[in-house]
Structures are given as structure tokens and as C-alpha cells.
């Protein structure tokens, strides 16, 4: 009986020692944190904000779990769940990160296409303006439209700056607005030209 008690005591001691050895999964923490940081650095917050936020929240939850285990009695510390959570965070962050370039590329493509269209529309408006006969009654309109085109041209460098700053969504909006206004100017020039033609016809 004495021997049995002795073995039981030793067993209990071994259990204590083993449980006391459970350590924070530092490597897993670092890996998960790095994966999330990499995702953010790649533009996750800008291009896939919701998924990035989810991954970030899950990382916080995993760190909370570690905190919970840290404050437990040595015998009952168990980081398995935290490790699992961290592994999931790392995998999710890496997955979302792989989606960022395509989203970014798509946004960039849209912005550049918009910029091209805006420039083409301004060019067309300018070409039309140079051909417009400055006749009686249309001169004021043409003068005003020259001012309009100048204003549109002033906005093109702002558009370029937005693209350089990789602010593609706002750049696309700006490009769209410039194109629409430039097309409007072209239409007005055509109308002004019609006005002149109409008056010339009346003189005959």
C-alpha cells in the first residue's frame, strides 16, 4: 500500500511538472501577427476591408485566449485552442492577402481607364473648340467654354496624383466626373456651332 501511495505521489508530481511546462505559443503568435501585418501592408484594409477586419478581430480573440490561459493555474494551462486559433488567423490572413493584388489591380485598371477616357474627352472638346467659328452671339459661349476646358485641364493633375497615391476608387470617381463634364462641354460647343450655322443660314 505504501508503494502504491508512493507511485501515486510521483505520478501527481510528474503531472504538475508536465502541466507547468505548458508555455505560450510564442512562435505561433509571431507568425499570426506577421501574417496580419503583411496583409495590412499589402493594402488589405483598403481593398478588402471587411475580411481584413475579421482576421484582425480573430487575432485579438486568439490573443485573449492566450491571456486567459496565462492567468490559469499551472496545472490547467492549455494553449491548444489558442494555437488552433492562431493557425487559423495565419491561414486566413495569407488567403485574404492573395486576393489583395487582384482587387488592387482591378481598381488600378479602372482608374487608369477612367483617366484615359477623361483625357480623350478633354482632347475632343479642345479640338471642337478650335474648330468652332466665333460668330456673333456664339463668342460669349465659346469664351465661357474655354474657361470650362481650362478648369477641366486643371483637374487632370489632381487625378494623376490620386493614382500615384494608389487612391484608385476616388481617382475613378474623379475621372468619371471629368469625362462627363468634358463630354458636356463638347455638346455645348456643337450647339454653339449650330447656333452660328443657323444664323449664317438666315443671312442668305
Amino acid at each position: 500500500m505504501k508503494r502504491l501511495l508512493k507511485y501515486f505521489t510521483y505520478g501527481l508530481l510528474v503531472m504538475f511538472i508536465l502541466a507547468g511546462c505548458a508555455k505560450q505559443p510564442t512562435e505561433d503568435i509571431n507568425a499570426a501577427q506577421k501574417a496580419v501585418e503583411d496583409l495590412k501592408a499589402a493594402g488589405g484594409e483598403k481593398y478588402i476591408p471587411e475580411d481584413t477586419k475579421k482576421v484582425d478581430d480573430n487575432l485579438s480573440a486568439a490573443l485573449n485566449e492566450i491571456k486567459a490561459q496565462d492567468s490559469k493555474f499551472a496545472l490547467s494551462k492549455n494553449y491548444d485552442k489558442a494555437k488552433q486559433m492562431l493557425a487559423q488567423v495565419k491561414a486566413d490572413a495569407e488567403k485574404v492577402k492573395t486576393d489583395v493584388p487582384s482587387k488592387k489591380e482591378e481598381a488600378k485598371k479602372n482608374a487608369l481607364a477612367g483617366q484615359e477616357e477623361a483625357r480623350a474627352s478633354i482632347k475632343e472638346a479642345k479640338a471642337l473648340l478650335s474648330k468652332a467659328p466665333i460668330g456673333k452671339g456664339a463668342r460669349a459661349d465659346i469664351e465661357a467654354l474655354k474657361g470650362d476646358i481650362k478648369g477641366l485641364e486643371d483637374s487632370v493633375p489632381e487625378l494623376q496624383q490620386l493614382i500615384e497615391k494608389e487612391d484608385y476608387v476616388v481617382a475613378t470617381d474623379k475621372a468619371k466626373a471629368i469625362k462627363e463634364k468634358a463630354d458636356g462641354v463638347s455638346n455645348q460647343i456643337k450647339e454653339a456651332m449650330q447656333k452660328v450655322k443657323g444664323k449664317e443660314g438666315g443671312k442668305k
Binding site: M1, K2, L4, L5, F8, T9, G11, L12, E50, K53, K54, D57, A61, N64, K67, A68, S71, K72, F73, S76, K136, R139, A140, D141, E143, A144, L145, K146, G147, D148, K150, G151, L152, D154, S155, V170, D173, K174, K176, A177, I178, E180, K181
Partner: protein, 376 residues
């Protein structure tokens, strides 16, 4: 070893049995599950972020996050307690309360967002209306490129604001509208003072008088008269009191204003006469006017006395009707295309009355009152 010795002495069998029981019970005993409110509160936190609570209810959201964090810290402390002593009930109750707060914040966010949407939409339509008014004014008074440049930039910002609104980004839309407001203000600063002169009934009456006097003289004496209408950018020749021919003109860079002093770039308004015909001029041919006349001198002295003109300022002079083209801007003279100047030069003798007015034909459609920024 005293414990074992002591136990051994009492009842070693009981101790061993207890030990076995403990070793069986402890690993088999699973901790109580975390209250479901933990997950719900975390999801609520995400929903609040998604609804932009950090923008529309930042203080409340911050307080929600702090409370939640405190509860989570307490939860961690509770989890650290020995299994048999863990009690999640108080934490669950606190989480229920924080969830109710979250619901309240979410509602508040939706309300504030709606208010923002309505206000931004209204602001957008107000600015659009103001822009349309100024656009018409700029075309009516032929006032040019600078005002138009600002107007088109305002139009671009308004368009962008519309796109932000469509995306539900009301803050972004509002910031674009603020910029649009700035551009509108800039164009108003150019247009409104000019506009006000051209709607001033006393001035219009004076201009009409000058035109009437010039044309009446032409009719009575059977001679020519010149009427320059600055806003219409034209010069009309009258013969025997009747309009004979009209030419397009260019005026000073600040031409729509009345000339007050030398170097202001304005084209004078008044009743003048051709006092010299210059067959050779820097600008082909020229008709020199008797600017400043007596009325101009009186006005100049009056304004100087009032301190509205610098003490050292001069009145300027050598105001001509000359060639050189109508497209360029002059220092205050009236310019015509060379071929038109040749014609005018032939038609006009010395002493011809010249009425230079803001407008010779006041229009009703000029009475568009542009609302000033900040009027509402």
C-alpha cells in the same frame, strides 16, 4: 513527507481511494461553457465597425469597446479560476447589458447616417442650384474664364459628391461638397460685384441717359454717334439717330468695371467725344476720347476724399477706340478687328459723341439673384 506520514497513521486506505478518485475526476471534469453572449458581443463589435460607428457615434462606440474589453478581461480572470468555482453568470449579465448598448448604438448610427444622407443630399442640390444660377450669370454678363474655371471645378466636386453618396460614403460626399462650396464662393467673388452693377437701377438709368443723349445728338444734327456696350462686347455706329452697324469689341482686362484710376484695367463709362483721329497708331488706327471728362474728374476727387482711392493714384488717360483685334484684353481701351477699325475710322468724324455704358440693352434675364455661400 509529514503529510503522508500523518495520513498514513490515520487511514492510508481512505487517502489512496481519495487520490484515485481525484485523479479520475479532475481530468474528466470539463469546464463550464462560455456564455453565448461572448460571441454575440464580439459580432456586435464587428457590426458596429461595419456600420461606421467609429464615424457616426465615436464616443459611444469607444465606450462600448472599453466596456467590452473590461468584461473580457474579467472573463479571462474567471476562466483562470478553478473549474468548480467558475461562475460566468455575472459576466453573461454584463454582456447582455453591453449587447443592449450595442443595439442602441447601432440604431443611433443608422439614424445619424440617415440625417447625414438627407442633409448631404439637400446640400448637394442647393449647391447645384447655386451653380446653375452662377453659370447663367457668367454667361449673361460674358464674364469669363476665371469664374468659369472655378465653376467647372465646383461642378466636378458636386459630381464626385454624388458618386460618394451613391456608395453610402456620406462623410466623403460632405468633404467634396465643402470643396465645391469653396469654388462656388471663388466664382461668386468674381461674378457678384459685376452682377450687382449690372442690376443697379440708378446705373442703368444713367447709362440709358448717355445713350439717349448721344443718339439724340446724332438724330438732331444728322451726324454719327458711337455706343459701346461693355457687357454685350459691341460697338454700334448710329447715323442720324438710327443704328447703322455693330462691331464686336474687346475691352480692358477688368473691363466690366468702371474706370476709377490709372492702371485698374477698367474701361471707363461715360459720355465722351472723339477728340483726335490717329491715322497711325500702335494698334493700326485709333480714335482718342476725351477721358477723363468733367464728371470723371468729380467722381475721382469724391472717391479720393472718401479714401476709396489711394492718395497718390492718378486718373489715367489716353483711352482710345483702336484696332489690333478684339480677342486680346486691353488696359481699358476699346479694341476692334483691324478691318472693322478701318470702317469705323472712315465713318466717324472728329467730335462724334461716344457713349460707353455697361449695357445698352438691360435684360430681364439678368435678374438671377445668385445666393451667396452661407446664405442658408
Amino acid at each position: 513527507m509529514a503529510f503522508f506520514e500523518y495520513s498514513d497513521k490515520r487511514n492510508p486506505k481512505i487517502l489512496v481511494t481519495l487520490g484515485f478518485l481525484l485523479s479520475l475526476i479532475l481530468p474528466g471534469c470539463s469546464p463550464p461553457p462560455l456564455p453565448p453572449e461572448v460571441g454575440l458581443a464580439e459580432r456586435m463589435n464587428h457590426d458596429l465597425w461595419k456600420a461606421q460607428a467609429h464615424v457616426y457615434a465615436s464616443e459611444e462606440y469607444q465606450s462600448y469597446k472599453t466596456t467590452l474589453k473590461n468584461i473580457m478581461d474579467d472573463l479571462i480572470r474567471e476562466e483562470a479560476r478553478f473549474i468548480w468555482f467558475r461562475d460566468y453568470e455575472p459576466i453573461a449579465e454584463r454582456l447582455k447589458a453591453v449587447l443592449r448598448d450595442g443595439e442602441g448604438i447601432l440604431e443611433k448610427v443608422q439614424e445619424r447616417k440617415e440625417v447625414k444622407r438627407v442633409n448631404t443630399t439637400r446640400q448637394l442640390s442647393d449647391l447645384e442650384e447655386r451653380l446653375t444660377g452662377l453659370d447663367r450669370v457668367s454667361l449673361t454678363i460674358n464674364e469669363g474664364r476665371l469664374a468659369r474655371r472655378s465653376l467647372i471645378k465646383a461642378a466636378l466636386m458636386i459630381k464626385e459628391a454624388g458618386l460618394f453618396l451613391d456608395r453610402g460614403d456620406y462623410e466623403g460626399a460632405a468633404s467634396r461638397l465643402t470643396m465645391a462650396s469653396g469654388y462656388i464662393k471663388a466664382s461668386e467673388d468674381i461674378l457678384v460685384p459685376i452682377f450687382n452693377r449690372y442690376t443697379d437701377k440708378t446705373l442703368i438709368k444713367k447709362w440709358r441717359r448717355w445713350v439717349d443723349e448721344a443718339t439724340a445728338e446724332s438724330r438732331e444734327k444728322g451726324t454719327s454717334a458711337i455706343v459701346v456696350s461693355k457687357i454685350d462686347r459691341n460697338l454700334s455706329i448710329y447715323k442720324r439717330g438710327r443704328p447703322f452697324k455693330t462691331y464686336e469689341i474687346g475691352i480692358g482686362r477688368n473691363g466690366l468695371s468702371d474706370k476709377l484710376l490709372a492702371g485698374d484695367g477698367a474701361t471707363p463709362e461715360g459720355s465722351y467725344r472723339v477728340i483726335k483721329k490717329l491715322f497711325r497708331s500702335r494698334y493700326r488706327k485709333a480714335l482718342l476720347l476725351n477721358y477723363p471728362n468733367d464728371e470723371d474728374r468729380r467722381e475721382f476727387l469724391r472717391l479720393k476724399k472718401m479714401g476709396l482711392i489711394p492718395k497718390r493714384a492718378g486718373m489715367g488717360g489716353l483711352i482710345e477706340i483702336h484696332g489690333g483685334g478684339k480677342e486680346g484684353m486691353t488696359y481699358g481701351c476699346v479694341s476692334l478687328e483691324n478691318r472693322d477699325m478701318d470702317e469705323v475710322f472712315k465713318l466717324v468724324p472728329l467730335g462724334t459723341p461716344v457713349a460707353i455704358v455697361g449695357t445698352a440693352s438691360p435684360k430681364d434675364d439678368i435678374s438671377i439673384t445668385p445666393k451667396k455661400v452661407g446664405d442658408d
